[in-house]
Every structure is written in structure tokens, then in C-alpha cells.
């Protein structure tokens, strides 16, 4: 899981152009969206959906689950671990 979390941090930094952020700056349990975390927005959510589809072959079938899955890097990693075929 730790390895996947670090990999995800790197992918988020690269795909979302988080130029002033390093993997060490990202708290795996902090919220990705809104205040108190990375402060991502709805366009970033689309980018993350594509990271999951392209890199892990995971499609989010139920959009209502999005809030829960995208809460933090850790929740993303847990979802990938459970759903990757």
C-alpha cells in the first residue's frame, strides 16, 4: 500500500502540474479537495478519473462514490487495491 501511495503522489504531481509540491509535502490522509489539503478543484477531479482509467484500468461506475474515493491519496490507494483487476 505504501508503495502505491508514493506512486500516486508522483502521478498527481505530474498530471496536475503541482509544480511547487513534492511527494513529501502531501499528507496521504489529508483531503485532496477544499481547504486543509491540496486544494484541488473539479477539473482536477476529471484528471484523477483519467489517472485511474489510464494507469490502473479502473472506471468509477457510481459517481456518488466519488466523494469518498477521492477524499485523500490513501482512500484512492485503497480503492485501487480493492478494484484493480
Amino acid at each position: 500500500m505504501e508503495e502505491l501511495i508514493e506512486k500516486l503522489k508522483g502521478q498527481l504531481i505530474e498530471e496536475l502540474n503541482l509544480e511547487e509540491v513534492t511527494p513529501a509535502d502531501i499528507d496521504a490522509e489529508a483531503p485532496l479537495f477544499g481547504d486543509g489539503g491540496l486544494g484541488l478543484d473539479s477539473i482536477d477531479a476529471l484528471e484523477i478519473i483519467l489517472i485511474l482509467e489510464r494507469n490502473y484500468g479502473i472506471k468509477i461506475e457510481n459517481p456518488a462514490q466519488g466523494k469518498e474515493i477521492f477524499y485523500s491519496v490513501k482512500t484512492l490507494a485503497e480503492y485501487i487495491t480493492k478494484n484493480q483487476k
Binding site: 498530471e15 496536475l16 502540474n17 503541482l18 509544480e19 511547487e20 486544494g39 478543484d41 477539473i43 476529471l46 484528471e47 483519467l50 482509467e53 489510464r54
Partner: protein, 296 residues
């Protein structure tokens, strides 16, 4: 002759004239100072950052309510994001395309971002007319001011990418110049109070032109504006021979909106004491323009 418009403020990001390979890249500032929102900045390509930075710098002392329009010119637009988006279409077999490069690759990205950041709810247009983009934008700005706008923000942006330099070189578009890039913005006004220079006239032509025809065109343009050649600084971006002219593309390189750099340089010449500055520009002996700037 046109309705005179006055230049209130200018901002420029341009090359220092040093070529790296066959490209003269702009010397970029620390964007954080002006584009303070890191979330916004991270999505911007170099062209967007250069454009937004110079536009906001140009507007620093101006209230948004007094700006009657934002008119931008570009030859190739936000090229890096366009390339990124096109590459992504090919790499991903037209599936799963990320939204950001598409959103940022449209020609009006820069004008749109400036309007959103400064809340300028006015006319907003981007001219993409190859090497006459700046001239078309300028003519539009002049018409808006003639119709009553107090201020118009006029700007031009083009960026170099590795592949664009390569393609332009292979197509013979650079004509012994290095490829260039840059961003210039000008706040044009109806009233001369507090302004630094006046744009007096502009003339454009299309199609191949001989040295003799070019010289006749310049003479007639100057004569129509009662300008004595002995009291004139000439900024030349054409391959035509003009007496005592400064080759401005020697500094900024060759690109579709290079004439905007010359306009910025003309204002600097006026600030240094010149009374009249003529900009003569040609791109591939196809698009030609003359612009006359006078001291107030």
C-alpha cells in the same frame, strides 16, 4: 490616417537577443509576483503566463471599469498546450483525453483569463491573422476608441516550442532569423493626459513587394503624416533596405506577432527622446505593415 490613439502604459516579456540554437527565448519574470494564485498558475502554459503577467502589469494602475475591451493578437496561440492535446489524442487513440490542455489551448485563453482575473466584462476578441494579427487587433482597438471607448487593452503573445522551431526552420519560414517569442501589452486611450506616445497611423499590405515598391510605400506613408525622414527612428523587421534602421528582429527573433515587440521598443525610443518612430515589418515578403508612433 486613423483616429489617433494614445499609449498610456506598456509591459513586455521578450528575449535579450541571445539565441539558444536557432531560438531567441523570452526572458521570463517570476510569475508569482503578479499571478499570485498558485492553483491558477499551475494550469497555465508559458504563453498564458507570459500574456497574463504582461497584461496584468500593464493594467496595474487602471480600474477595470475604465477598460472598454481586451483585444489580443496571436499567430499560433497557446502552442505548447495545443501540441500536448494533439499528442494526447494520438497517444490515447482518441480516448480518455485530459481536459486541461484542451481548455488552455484555445486562442482566447489569455484574453479570457485577464478578463476573469480583473473582472472586465467588456468586448473581448483574439485576432489570429498570421503575421497581420497585431495590425488587425490594433485597427480594431482604434475603431473602438473612435467609437467612444476610454481605454482598450491591446496585447500580443506567441511562444516557441521545440517542434515549432524545427518545423519553421524546415519550411524556410525564418529567413535567416532565429525563431522568436514574446508578449507585449499596451493600454491604449482616447485621452492623451498622462500618456507617453501616440499611434498616428497604420497601413498594411499583402503579397510580394519589390524594394522599389516598398520604398515608395514608406515615402508616401511618411508624407501623408507630414513626417520628415531626418527626424525619424526606423525599426525595421522587413528584409527591405531602409536607411539608418534598427533591425528589431535581431533582438526578438522572427515570429508572427514580432511587430508588438517593435511597438514596445518604439515607446522606449520615444521615452528616450525620439520624436517619430516608424515600424516597418514584413513576414516572408507576404504580410507587410507600417506603423507610425509620435511623441506627445
Amino acid at each position: 490616417m486613423i483616429t489617433p490613439v494614445y499609449i498610456r502604459s506598456t509591459a513586455s516579456i521578450h528575449s535579450d537577443g541571445q539565441a539558444q540554437g536557432n531560438a531567441k527565448r523570452a526572458v521570463e519574470p517570476d510569475y508569482k509576483e503578479v499571478i499570485t494564485d498558485a492553483g491558477l498558475r499551475r494550469r497555465m502554459s508559458r504563453a498564458v503566463k507570459m500574456g497574463v503577467y504582461s497584461a496584468l502589469t500593464c493594467l496595474a494602475d487602471t480600474s477595470s471599469d475604465s477598460v472598454g475591451g481586451i483585444i489580443t493578437a496571436t499567430g499560433l496561440g497557446c502552442l505548447a498546450d495545443t501540441e500536448k492535446f494533439m499528442k494526447s489524442i494520438v497517444d490515447n487513440n482518441e480516448q480518455l483525453l485530459t481536459p486541461t490542455p484542451f481548455i488552455q489551448s484555445t486562442f482566447n485563453t489569455i484574453g479570457g483569463q485577464v478578463a476573469l482575473l480583473r473582472k472586465i466584462h467588456a468586448y473581448n476578441v483574439t485576432y489570429v491573422h498570421r503575421a497581420l494579427s497585431v495590425e488587425s487587433a490594433l485597427i480594431d482597438a482604434v475603431m473602438h476608441i473612435a467609437e467612444g471607448a476610454d481605454n482598450i487593452l491591446l496585447g500580443a503573445v506567441d511562444e516557441i516550442t521545440e517542434s515549432s522551431v524545427d518545423i519553421q526552420q524546415r519550411m524556410g519560414m525564418l529567413r535567416n532569423n532565429a525563431a522568436g517569442e514574446g508578449s507585449q501589452f499596451f493600454l491604449l486611450s482616447r485621452n492623451s493626459n498622462g500618456c507617453v506616445a501616440q499611434i498616428t497611423d497604420i497601413s498594411t499590405r499583402r503579397g510580394a513587394i519589390t524594394q522599389t515598391d516598398f520604398a515608395t510605400w514608406v515615402d508616401s506613408f511618411l508624407s501623408n503624416n507630414n513626417v520628415d525622414k531626418t527626424d525619424l527612428v526606423v525599426l525595421n523587421g522587413s528584409k527591405q533596405v531602409l536607411t539608418n534602421a534598427i533591425d528589431f528582429k535581431n533582438q526578438c527573433g522572427e515570429y508572427f506577432t514580432a511587430v508588438a515587440f517593435a511597438l514596445w521598443q518604439a515607446v522606449e525610443q520615444i521615452k528616450s527622446g525620439a520624436r517619430n518612430v516608424l515600424i516597418a515589418n514584413s513576414f516572408q515578403n507576404t504580410n507587410h505593415s507600417l506603423i507610425l508612433i509620435k511623441a506627445l
